[in-house]
């Protein structure tokens, strides 16, 4: 079985910065309420017409160029998003077209907040078995297109922003090597952070012509917007992330890492987790950007590396938890 490494990772942020005052005006709430949730982190938002694929395509083109590759060198695409451009088909197909890849496989995974970890865990296996030699892994989310932009449930709009990152995986050891990934789920907690509609399980009325996955009455209630119970998510993350961190380090065969990168919807978790993880976690790295769903960890790795806070070959743990409920940890050598 071949070892697999992340050979390059690049992030892409939308150009527009929306400050707390501007968002407060849009939501119709006080600016200090927005600031309470954003905690000084930067909010980037992509405009109408620029979904996750457009962001991922720019990150992907840069990743390929920095590795000296062309799009035709990619032989499998995995795209993790919770906010796809279209209801269907998925964004991997759109990215294949946008980058100009050959008609290789394009896999769309939905793993919510653990999207990047799930995409990585799936992708390295395709290389390890020899089914692929080079996999392009995209993680991108545009929650600003998805969230309710009003005063009813402002926390999600205040706490999230848009971003994308693309990693390229190839066979190899040393810097970038993926040592162990663990993702876990508990579907009984799916209401902790969810979006109910469109919902194939519901219909309105009794005749076929009245059937509709997104009845106007539900849309009027705002039930097509995500909802999150921040306290439950926080409590769950603080309990489960340390477990999966310990488990994954053991599977990777290491006792400690140099740095642990933490991403969570609730910034409080990023502050509270280090004491739960203990000295094995090494230095803690959190983002200066607002949370961007399953792409957050990938963006964090790319930006920390670019800023020189991660050195090639360092041992890094990537931890997250959120919707699903899903939680996970990956141990890699920094590319």
């Amino acid at each position: 079985m071949r070892s697999v490494a992340i050979t390059v990772i690049e992030e892409e942020l939308p150009a527009q910065i929306v400050d707390d005052a501007a968002l407060a005006a849009e939501l119709g709430i006080a600016a200090d309420e927005v600031s309470r949730w954003s905690r000084g982190r930067e909010r980037r938002e992509s405009p109408d017409g620029e979904g996750p694929t457009a962001l991922a395509a720019r990150a992907g083109a840069r990743a390929l160029a920095s590795r000296g590759l062309s799009a035709t060198d990619v032989d499998f695409i995995v795209f993790a998003t919770n906010t796809p451009d279209l209801f269907f088909p998925g964004s991997a197909c759109l990215l294949q077209g946008a980058l100009g890849c050959r008609t290789v496989g394009g896999l769309d995974v939905r793993s919510q907040c653990t999207g990047f970890l799930t995409a990585l865990d799936t992708s390295w296996r395709f290389i390890a078995t020899g089914m692929a030699d080079r996999v392009l892994v995209a993680a991108a989310d545009t929650p600003s297109h998805f969230n309710a932009r009003d005063a009813r449930t402002p926390q999600l709009s205040c706490s999230t922003a848009d971003a994308a990152a693309v990693a390229i995986l190839e066979a190899g050891e040393g810097p970038g090597e993926i040592l162990a990934i663990t993702v876990r789920n508990d579907g009984s907690r799916h209401r902790d952070y969810w979006c109910e509609y469109p919902a194939s399980r519901f219909r309105e009325g009794t005749t076929l012509t009245e059937r509709n996955r997104l009845p106007a009455s539900k849309a009027a209630e705002g039930r097509h917007f995500p909802a999150a119970d921040f306290d439950r998510l926080r409590e769950f993350a603080l309990a489960r992330v340390p477990e999966v961190f310990t488990e994954t380090l053991a599977r990777a065969g290491v006792e400690r890492v140099d740095v642990t990168l933490v991403a969570h919807l609730d910034p409080r978790v990023e502050g509270e987790l280090p004491s739960r993880l203990g000295p094995a976690a090494g230095r803690i790295e959190v983002s200066d950007l607002l949370y961007a769903g399953g792409s957050s960890l990938a963006v964090l790795v790319a930006r920390a590396k670019k800023a020189g806070r991660l050195a090639s070959g360092q041992l890094a743990a990537l931890v997250t938890a959120g919707s699903g409920a899903s939680w996970g940890c990956g141990v890699v050598r920094v590319p």
Binding site: D48, F87, A92, F126, R149
Partner: protein, 340 residues
């Protein structure tokens, strides 16, 4: 990842299959009562006579869970032996999280990894490939792979969309994938493809996050943005070409020929597509299964439903070279060959 290859299975295999469809049967004549269409028109163009619709607030996850339990029982394992759940659907119960989380809840399997695969009509093939990778790399021993759809709550029952609406039905099919019981049996090869240039030839545009907001404030349920759209002739032509190509690619990958195929289990989008693929490959009806006449197109569920029925009918036997092939929205397509 450091792991000795000697400890790992060299192949994955399908250890058990099952399916579930809702009780209510909707015939072409039933549809002709509300749409400007006829039984003859639908049958001539698609081969469909009837399809099943859920008749209560049942979504695609409950159907998936029922199909899964049958597959688990036939695999000779317990639900607790499942260590990865993959669900393919384009009609999830709720917007997020995906159906895999809801199936996990129903099966009481908290703790194992689960995720959804959104690869439309080719979803089952993509999931078989993922399952194969996890098993061969030691990431899982028993993978539950489910395709499930409830289309009937997401179809527009107006004449504008009749050419799409008449094609689709509700249902779920599942497989347990595990280590092959012998080194020469199981998955021999699989190829996967996509081509995003034709994404809007068969699509459901919204709600989609390319737009901000993803659902316009002036949206109404009558907006075509919220209903599936298809350029039928374009999709038909590409389906015949790509399915044939991918089956040929799979055969070439293992040095076998068309004559070696015992049975093809194709995606059920349109009987005429499959008839042309069979003709191109020189396969008779005895070597290509179809059941679209009774279920319509159940998207990610067509292959496992048909595989289950064909296996139950005794048309797949140990040692057969079985081909699974799909084409659909994306476009996505692919083919797999199993030594059964």
């Amino acid at each position: 990842m450091k792991q000795s290859t000697a400890e790992l299975p060299s192949r994955s295999h399908i250890l058990g299959v099952g399916f579930e469809v809702p009780r209510t049967v909707v015939t072409n004549d039933d549809l002709s009562q509300i749409l400007d269409t006829t039984d003859e028109w639908i049958r001539q163009r698609s081969g469909i006579r009837e399809r099943h619709y859920v008749d209560d607030d049942q979504g695609s996850a409950p159907l998936a869970a029922k199909a899964a339990l049958t597959a688990i029982e036939r695999a000779g394992i317990q639900p607790g032996d499942i260590d990865l759940i993959l669900c393919g659907t384009l009609s999830p119960d709720i917007d997020f999280p995906g159906n895999a989380a809801l199936v996990q809840e129903r099966l009481g399997l908290a703790g194992c990894p689960v995720f959804d695969v959104r690869n439309q009509c080719s979803g089952f093939l993509y999931m078989l490939a993922i399952a194969d990778q996890y098993i061969r790399t030691g990431g899982a021993r028993h993978v539950l792979v489910i395709g499930s759809e409830v289309h009937s709550s997401g179809l527009e029952f107006t004449d504008r969309s009749r050419h799409v609406t008449v094609l689709f039905g509700d249902g779920a099919g599942a497989a347990v994938v595990g280590p092959s019981p012998s080194p020469d049996r199981g998955l021999l090869t699989i190829n996967l493809h996509c081509e995003g240039a034709f994404a809007e030839k068969l699509c459901l545009l919204g709600p989609g996050s390319i737009h901000k907001p993803r659902l316009a404030k002036d949206w109404t349920p009558a907006d075509i943005y919220g209903w599936p759209q298809m350029d039928g002739k374009f999709v038909f032509r590409h389906a015949v070409t790509r399915m044939t190509e991918s089956i040929e690619e799979a055969l070439a990958a293992i040095g076998r020929t068309r004559e070696d195929i015992s049975m093809v289990i194709p995606h059920q989008a349109n009987l005429r597509i499959n008839q042309l693929v069979a003709m191109g490959l020189g396969l008779g009806d005895d070597r290509m299964a179809n059941n679209i006449d009774r279920y319509g197109n159940t998207t990610a569920a067509t292959i496992p439903i048909l595989l289950t029925e064909t296996w139950e009918a005794g048309r797949i036997r140990e040692g057969d070279l079985v081909c699974l092939a799909a084409f659909g929205a994306g476009f996505t397509w692919g083919a797999a060959l199993y030594n059964w």
